[in-house]
Amino acid sequence: MDATASSDGYQRIVEAEDLRRRYGEGEAAVDALAGVTVDFPAGHFAAIMGPSGSGKSTLMHILAGLDRPTSGTVRIAGVELTELDDRALTQLRRDRIGFIFQTFNLLPVLNAEENILLPLSIAGRKVDREWFDRLVDTVGIRDRLSHRPAELSGGQQQRVAVARALISRPSVVFADEPSGNLDSKASGDVLGLLRHAVDDFGQTVVMVTHDAHAASFADRLLLLADGRIVHDGDAVTAEQALDLMKSVG
């Protein structure tokens, strides 16, 4: 991997510099991001929090190559995103990025196994059976592999989604409110899985959430308000996270 090594010895998987994103024009223009510089080292679990409209989702979309910044640069594993055309960007998402969505977004016509393997099918890549088995056992849905999403609980669906995000061994997994649609038990399971992926597989995870409890699973907490990073620090407890949130209102 050609990510640049930082002074502290970590590889920076995601690097963003002075990101700005403006929606609309003239008087009605809104700056969703007003100059964000941040990087995410390999093998870490970062949580991005912030009140509604703080720009946290916009930041994640831009980091993941789903949206383009008005100005600034994003590099993933050393590749400059802003210079890529749609096709190259699509390929980068396919090969380097894993996604976990709030609403699971599994294909209803495919069973769990097919959903997990979807990124490989799209890429036309061979399945590493060993890795697949390990993932299936880790997320604990081996007995549900032939079921379709409609036959799975929300927690089971999100675990399938986690396995899908990890199957292609991406450089980074972006999770957008992964526990937002789950009850507390299922929520804990899924977040535990993400923690596990970072600790045992060395996966890099960037999670956007407004749930302080979810944030407490991360190694690092970033707080966004009005399109700017207002806090960037080490892991905190759920209570501390909540206090931090309150401070930015």
């Binding site: 993941a64 096709r87 699509t90 998402r93 396919r94 294909l107 016509v109 097919e114 979807l118 799209i122």
Partner: protein, 857 residues
């Protein structure tokens, strides 16, 4: 509510346009048909009016066997003309000739326009003349001719140039002395006219001493009606006497009847297209109502009654119907000339001038378009009324399905359909068997539904076919796999979408199988029956031009020719009957040298006993009329008198050369006024070859009878096959419209499905699916849907054709033939249709904005 409907319309422009066009195409064909036939009718009415207005009274032969049947020996002779002239109040009377003939260049090239008829006309006194010379003059000598302007222009004929005019009586080489224009400026309906002097016209047309028509001018002070009454009293019943205006009206009515067939023929295709359009309306409304469940629930929550919900959906249908119908009507105005062009391309020249848009056309088109749309939208509209108010509150509330019919209701329904089928079968024998099959199928369905009572209907056929088709493309990977799964996600929807294509393809297949069978039958039966070497026929197949009686004797003198036997066709009507029977006339002594008859009763010597009083029946006619050998029947002939015929034998003829009755050639001439032959069969002496004889025959024909040509049996069969193919192609073109309509249905369904799956598409794009892969997926889905429709259509078409021919044509020697090549092509057409239909939806799906798609709920 209407305002809401209107607003909804504007927001869904593309869908309104697509569904509107689906209806508009059928309406356009309907309107175009009316406009075309009205226009043709109008043109001819003008021609008849111009031709007849100069005449006070017109005398024509009586046509007791219908307006199409005319004795070739006209009852109007010089004596009759003399009696008219002697009638008080007649200022002037003249006989005229107007007979089908052939107009050729000196190099024997036809000068007529395509398939329009060519006529030999006689010069008449100037007050009766409908043609005026634009160059030169009218013919004055026997070797002079004047031709119509259109023909002269088409073949760039000049004054002084020589042409050949060939008729039943003679072939004449004449010099052009005039170019004529039809009075009133209209074209003469695409037909060519060669005007000769009266005597020469009679000679060439084979009517020496006779006329086709008498034109009479009244003396001053005598009204046409008075004169008509006087002339009527003076003439026998073998002629009809009409005033000029009456004659024009009669000719127009006659033509209208002919056009009726064309109109019905075309309207059938318009109806098919409308039915297919109805499928699409039904499907589109069903889908949109499912998608608008939440909105409809909100309306209910806000206090809208079921009736109001129903009305809002029906109003939407009404509005859409009006839009489609108006679009169709406008399209029809443009389509009418295209239809005319289509017929020209397929060899039928229909004259027309301008565009006649009758109120009836507008009313019928609008009614059809709006009616079909509203009716097709009714079931979905009723479904919309079942949306519970709860749907507004909750995600994913389904419209409750219609309560399943009870077992008793199912049985009652079956009983009703059984009664209907039995009644219809009793009314018409032919369709009875097909309906019987329908009953059996319905019975099976009833058994199934009773056995699985209480379950919602499943569309097993869609997953089965989609599974098989998906398996075929499974090597294409995930896109094909997803396409397959998506196509069976809503099997009912896929089935209705496919069904629209099924209708068109089933009809195409049905016609194709029937045509293949007919060709195979012709090939087999003619090969079995025809024992001669050459067939002599008119160069203008299908025209009224026949073979002059002098041809057969001339051919008998060609060396290496062993025998020539002439065959003629005529019609008659049994005493007391109101329908015509067809009659074949043969030359008893030589017929069986060239043709094998399968005798049921009688033997080859029976032919020799025919004389002028005997007849042979086909087995089917004898059976249907319960006639036996020895019985005598009385038959009215085109010459307007009865002949008595005794049944001498009964024969089977699968090649259909022998008609209901077969009589001797001599009787056809003397009793039926049938002068021309339809076919001559020529047999060689043993050992002679085509290469030796045919060129000699052709040289003779070209020199003396240029309107006639020779064909070997193989050439003859090939041309019959070509004729069938031409008709088949015409039907294909007209059915193509229905297939195009169903394309719009596929496009519509795909777009609506894609809209439903926006989030899925967004996710797929987010995790790295390329636009190309998305497009590919949609294309596969479309092709799978189209192929489901295609396969069902093929199966229905083939089975339908086999059933119909097996039962309706049993015993007629029909040979089944399945045109496998055509069917394979049709499957490719279906797949291609799917591919074309997928273009727009695929592009839309690929353009889905990832962020917005993921954000949409």
């Amino acid at each position: 509510m209407l305002a809401l409907v209107l607003r909804g319309f504007l927001q869904r422009k593309l869908r309104v346009l697509l569904t509107g066009i689906a209806i508009a195409l059928g309406v356009a064909l309907m309107a175009g048909t009316y406009i075309l036939t009205d226009t043709i009718n109008h043109s001819f009415a003008g021609i008849f009016h111009t031709a007849d207005e100069t005449k006070s009274v017109i005398v024509t032969p009586t046509q007791s066997l219908g307006k199409k049947v005319r004795s070739e020996v006209s009852p109007i002779d010089e004596a009759l003309l003399a009696r008219v002239r002697a009638t008080p109040g007649v200022a002037q009377a003249a006989g005229s000739i107007f007979s089908p003939g052939s107009l050729l260049s000196v190099h024997h090239k036809r000068l007529g326009g395509g398939h329009a008829p060519e006529f030999i006309a006689s010069e008449v006194p100037s007050r009766f003349e409908s043609f005026a010379p634009v160059a030169g003059r009218r013919p004055q000598a026997a070797d002079e001719v004047a031709v119509d302007e259109a023909t002269a222009e088409r073949s760039s004929l000049k004054l002084g140039e020589q042409v050949i005019v060939a008729g039943t009586g003679a072939t004449a080489r004449v010099t052009i002395v005039g170019i004529l224009r039809f009075a009133g400026g209209q074209s003469f309906g695409g037909a060519s006219v060669a005007l000769l002097t009266a005597a020469e016209a009679q000679r060439v047309a084979g009517e020496v001493g006779r006329y086709d028509q008498l034109d009479v001018a009244a003396a001053p002070g005598v009204t046409p009606k008075q004169l008509r009454a006087r002339i009527r009293a003076a003439l026998p019943a073998t002629v009809v006497v009409r005033t000029g205006a009456e004659q024009a009206a009669a000719d127009t009515a006659n033509l209208e009847e002919d056009l009726g067939f064309l109109r019905t023929f075309l309207l059938v295709f318009a109806y098919v297209a409308l039915v297919v359009g109805a499928f699409i309306i039904f499907n589109t409304f069903s889908i949109t109502i499912a998608q608008r469940t939440r909105e409809l629930g909100l309306l209910r929550t806000l206090g809208a009654s079921r009736a109001q919900v129903l009305r809002s959906v029906v109003e939407e249908g009404l509005l859409l119907g009006v839009f489609g119908a108006v679009l169709g009507l406008l399209g029809g105005i443009g389509l009418a000339p295209a239809l005319d062009g289509l017929f020209k391309a397929f060899g039928a020249d229909l004259p027309d001038s301008g565009t006649v848009l009758e109120t009836r056309t507008i009313v019928v088109s609008l009614l059809a378009g709006v009616g079909v749309t509203v009716l097709a939208g009714l079931a979905p509209a009723l479904r919309a009324t079942r949306v519970p108010p709860l749907a507004a509150m909750r995600e994913g509330v389904q419209i409750p399905p219609r309560p399943l019919p009870s077992k008793r209701a199912l049985i009652v329904r079956f009983a009703i359909s059984l009664v209907v089928v039995v009644a219809v079968s009793a009314a018409s024998k032919g369709v009875g068997i097909v309906l019987l099959v329908a009953v059996v199928l319905r019975g099976l369905r009833l058994r199934y539904r009773l056995r699985h009572h209480g379950q919602q209907r499943k569309y097993r056929i869609v997953p089965a076919l989609a599974g098989a088709l998906g398996w075929l493309v499974s090597w294409r990977g995930i896109t094909a796999r997803l396409a397959r799964e998506n196509s069976i996600r809503q099997p009912g929807r896929t089935l209705v979408t496919a069904a629209a294509l099924t209708v068109g393809l089933a009809l195409v297949t049905f016609v194709a199988v029937l045509a293949a069978g007919t060709k195979a039958t012709i090939n087999q039966t003619e090969t079995r029956s025809f024992a001669g070497n050459l067939i002599i026929e008119s160069s203008q197949r299908g025209s009224e031009v026949g073979i002059p009686p002098a041809v057969a004797p001339a051919l008998r003198r060609v060396s290496r020719v062993a025998s020539v036997t002439a065959i003629a066709f005529t019609v008659g009507r049994r005493r007391g009957s109101s329908s015509n029977i067809s009659i074949t006339a043969v030359e008893p002594s030589s017929f069986e040298r060239a043709y094998r008859v399968e005798w049921k009763q009688g033997s080859p010597s029976t032919l020799l006993d025919l004389g002028e009083t005997g007849t042979i029946l086909t087995k089917s006619y004898a059976d249907s009329q319960h006639l036996k050998v020895g019985q005598t029947i009385s038959v009215l002939t085109p010459s307007d008198h009865y002949v008595s015929l005794t049944v001498r034998g009964i024969a089977q003829d699968n090649a259909k050369l022998l008609s209901d009755l077969t009589i001797s050639r001599a009787l056809a001439r003397s009793g039926f006024g049938q002068v021309e032959d339809a076919l001559d069969f020529l047999s060689y002496v043993p050992g002679a070859t085509d290469a030796q004889v045919q060129p000699v025959v052709d040289r003779l024909l070209e020199a003396s009878f240029p309107q006639v040509r020779s064909r070997t049996a193989a050439q003859f069969k090939q041309e019959q096959a070509n004729q069938i193919d031409t008709l088949l192609e015409l039907i294909y073109v007209l059915l193509a419209l229905s297939v195009i309509v169903s394309l719009f249905g596929i496009v519509n369904t795909l777009i609506l499905s894609i809209y439903e799956r926006t989030r899925e598409l967004g996710m797929m794009r987010a995790i790295g699916t390329s636009r190309r892969q998305i497009r590919e997926m949609i294309r596969y889905e479309s092709v799978i849907t189209a192929l489901i429709g295609g396969i069902l259509g093929l199966v229905i078409g083939v089975v339908g054709a086999i059933l119909v021919t097996t039962f309706a044509l049993s015993g007629s020697g029909y040979v089944q033939s399945i045109p496998v090549g055509t069917l394979v092509v049709l499957l490719f057409v279906a797949a291609l249709a799917g591919l074309i239909a997928a273009q727009l939806p695929a592009r839309r799906a690929a353009r889905v904005d990832v962020l917005r798609a993921l954000a949409s709920e």
